[in-house]
Symmetry: C2
Subunit: 476 residues, 2 copies
């Protein structure tokens, strides 16, 4: 019988001898193999009877080599593990030349590992991060499934660029060097694959609204794109987004949903990924020891996650937030880069972090923003100057969720689009939702990688997605 | 308390009066509203006390209008439902002008509904299809999660075009009209966003292999693309694919996995989507009545799904299949469009359907195909002429799954790539998997929309994805 490392470490194994396949993490004293197969952060110790093993074979047991081991599971004599395998036979499935193999049994810099992203999940850190990413994904699907939501796949290639969430990538099957031209000398997209100009989507929200207005509660979870030249540790050109959309739900319901959702998903990993989290918590602690005291987190990774799960999110209107910020120490002492002078100012990351980390010391939901700093589809309040928007701010990360109640009134929406020069013909189908059986509805967007960063404590967004797409980089 | 239609129809409701919000499907005799909110295929009947309701209000209760109803749930006097709501108050949330609303309470052609894809889930057929699509998605994630697989997001934008699964779409942020040129007059992609030419992915397999070779068992479930001008009822330019990949698993294990997976996922919808399936089964029956007897299915929708769940998939080598086909009636009588003359022929859809529907009368796994009609990465058999490939063929649909054991031997893989003129530099990372700790591994790909077609009985792939992308069409 062949087992996984996870099974050997957590289950009662009675059938002996057993078999296991995996990769050698380390081999020390010509005797102790630390074997890993990806099923858990932990290795199983396999003890080789080196005196009765061929010398040439022993030499091939190197870091990164794939092996097939037969043996017996016994109580371990040594420290650090409860059980170990007494090896009766070992076969090398795939060698790994120790002089060439990039992943050595020592600390590698993350930048080096990004260049070897095809091998980086062979390290404990990245295997833990990617197991958590997987677990968070499942928790998201589970939450929505249990709460009566339908998963919908919104289109990736889109003919509309009306949402204006950011710069878009063009998608084309035309010969880029010699494209067909119109009489006016423009590119003739009517001859392109889709018969018109097409882009990669920046959001599935507008399409999700169409399904909410028939199926009631829906969500998307798919890739979205920004062609913005932001070479930072917080931006990707390709990232995954979760966007629920619910009919008959107002902004208060939206806040309840988002808070409940975040807590549920984070609870799931606290319950199911404890060992990975403990490893990552320790890693973060080690990393922070190299930083000046002021930059270190006040809470450990697991405590930070628990803090979100256990505490109510503080709900604060934009107007209240501006008051708090205007009167805050860093504003008065001009420590903010952008001084808050009056109502209407767009909040910067420094302001958001002040509110969350210094003032309220808990996740914060800001709502009712000035209309002119928010998107066209957000529900105008009766005051005529604010919209029913909300942003959820997390400690250390800043904005985690952005959402709103949507403008359900056809005339108000048309007026708004006109003012912003958005062509009604482009969004005829979106307007139809307001023409036929319109109703209050709301939703939000959550950047998945932000969530993975929060739950893993990783500081660079390139380290929480398998193959990051960033300016000048589409390797693998 | 506000309820969903599904709750009202299936749960014991004790808190009265209650509230419900939804859309009017029909309103007849100035009295009976059939109300739907997307939570189930079924409507709830709401009985209006028309003698005590304002005439002007009654006129606004039209198909497609959104309403907020208060009332009491009572045992129904009429046929066709167990319970109904006696309406005490009704508010129109959103009108729907009966002269303009495209979705009338009668049968609409699917082509018409494709043009109104933003409203088509307001019909019973499309709401059932999309609920099933959602349910199948969840069943897939659930299956893999329960079986120790990690979900990974493989990249959508890719710099590699080596897999050769089909024509690719180009992705670019360059000014298409005035792109920068190199000295030689070619487009200078080094100035493009990613610093090189990039495309939309045709498969996540190669990247999934990198994760299988560290995490053990992984799968992708994401969008893939083909820029092929196939304007058929079975092709999409953008479709979703499921691709598991498992280390230390050979082709036999791959067949076991695929069969177990398909059965598990289809069992899930049999259990969880019974009413939607019953509706779609009836729809299919009605549709088939318009066809000549010979073209009708021998089994009903649910029986066909059960048949797959309950029967072993027949495993047949390509060589055996060729023998069967060569000696078959349609081959001898030249009824096949492509006559099978000798070993090495590529099988066409007509041959696959003959094997599944006429000869074996069950799902069939064909394996060990000639090397030269399959992809470069498939494991060469010891005979030197066949590869460890498998295709799973389903009744009515044809190929549902394509998979293989992967070539794990560095020298053999390099030779194959050389023969096919695939640049080693392009796939250096893929070759690394064979250099460092290589091992037997296998996986398969399943076109998600094919599965949804099978489970819903829909005949056109454009009707099982929210917003289909096909030649000349990227609307919505």
């Amino acid at each position: 019988m062949t087992y996984s490392v996870s099974q050997l470490l957590t289950q009662d194994i009675t059938l002996q001898p057993l078999e296991i396949k995996g990769w050698v993490r380390t081999f020390r004293a010509n005797r102790f193999i630390a074997l890993n197969d990806g099923s858990t952060i932990n290795n199983i110790q396999c003890v080789v009877d080196f005196e009765n093993t061929d010398e040439a074979l022993l030499k091939r047991i190197t870091t990164g080599s794939a092996v097939h081991i037969k043996g017996n599971l016994v109580k371990s004599q040594g420290k650090g593990q409860n059980v170990e395998i007494q090896v009766t036979s070992i076969e090398i499935l795939g060698d790994s030349d120790p002089d060439e193999y990039p992943i050595q049994p020592r600390k590698h810099g993350f930048e080096f590992l990004r260049k070897n992203a095809h091998l980086r999940t062979r390290t404990s850190t990245f295997s833990a991060v990617m197991r958590l990413r997987s677990s968070l994904s499942f928790a998201i699907h589970k939450y929505f499934n249990e709460n009566g939501f339908y998963y919908m796949h919104t289109p990736i290639v889109t003919g509309s660029d009306a949402e204006g969430a950011g710069e878009m990538f063009k998608v084309s099957a035309l010969d880029a060097k010699n494209p067909p031209l119109t009489k006016d000398g423009d590119i003739d997209y009517s001859q392109d694959f889709f018969g018109k100009e097409t882009n990669l989507t920046v959001s599935g929200q507008l399409e999700a609204e169409t399904y909410a207005m028939s199926l009631g509660k829906v969500y998307t979870f798919g890739p979205t794109f920004r062609a913005e030249n932001s070479n930072t540790s917080r931006h990707l050109a390709e990232f995954w987004m979760i966007e629920p959309e619910v009919a008959f739900m107002d902004l208060a319901g939206n806040m309840d949903l988002a808070e409940n959702f975040m807590k549920s998903v984070l609870s799931y990993v606290l319950e199911h990924n404890r060992e990975d989290l403990e490893f990552l918590e320790k890693r973060l602690l080690d990393e922070e020891k190299t930083k000046p005291q002021a930059e270190r987190s006040e809470m450990s990774l697991i405590d930070k996650i628990k803090f979100v799960v256990d505490n109510n999110f503080k709900r604060v209107s934009y107007t209240e937030a501006i008051d708090i910020l205007k009167n805050s120490k860093p504003n008065k002492k001009k420590k903010f880069k952008y001084i808050i002078e009056e109502w209407g100012a767009d909040l910067q990351s420094e302001h958001e972090r002040f509110l969350v980390e210094k003032h309220f010391k808990c996740p914060v939901i800001l709502f009712d923003y000035p209309a002119n700093i928010k998107a066209f589809y957000m529900r105008l309040n009766e005051d005529g100057k604010t919209v029913r928007a909300m942003d959820i701010l997390f400690p250390g990360i800043g904005e985690m969720v952005g959402g709103s109640q949507r403008e359900e009134r056809l005339d108000v929406l048309k007026e708004k689009m006109k003012a912003l020069d958005i062509d009604e013909k482009e969004l005829w189908w979106y307007l139809d939702l307001r023409k036929y059986g319109t109703a209050v509805h709301s939703g939000f967007g959550l950047g998945f990688e932000r969530l993975v960063m929060f739950a893993t404590g990783m500081g660079n967004i390139r380290d929480v997605i398998p193959y990051p797409r960033t300016p000048q980089n589409a390797e693998f």
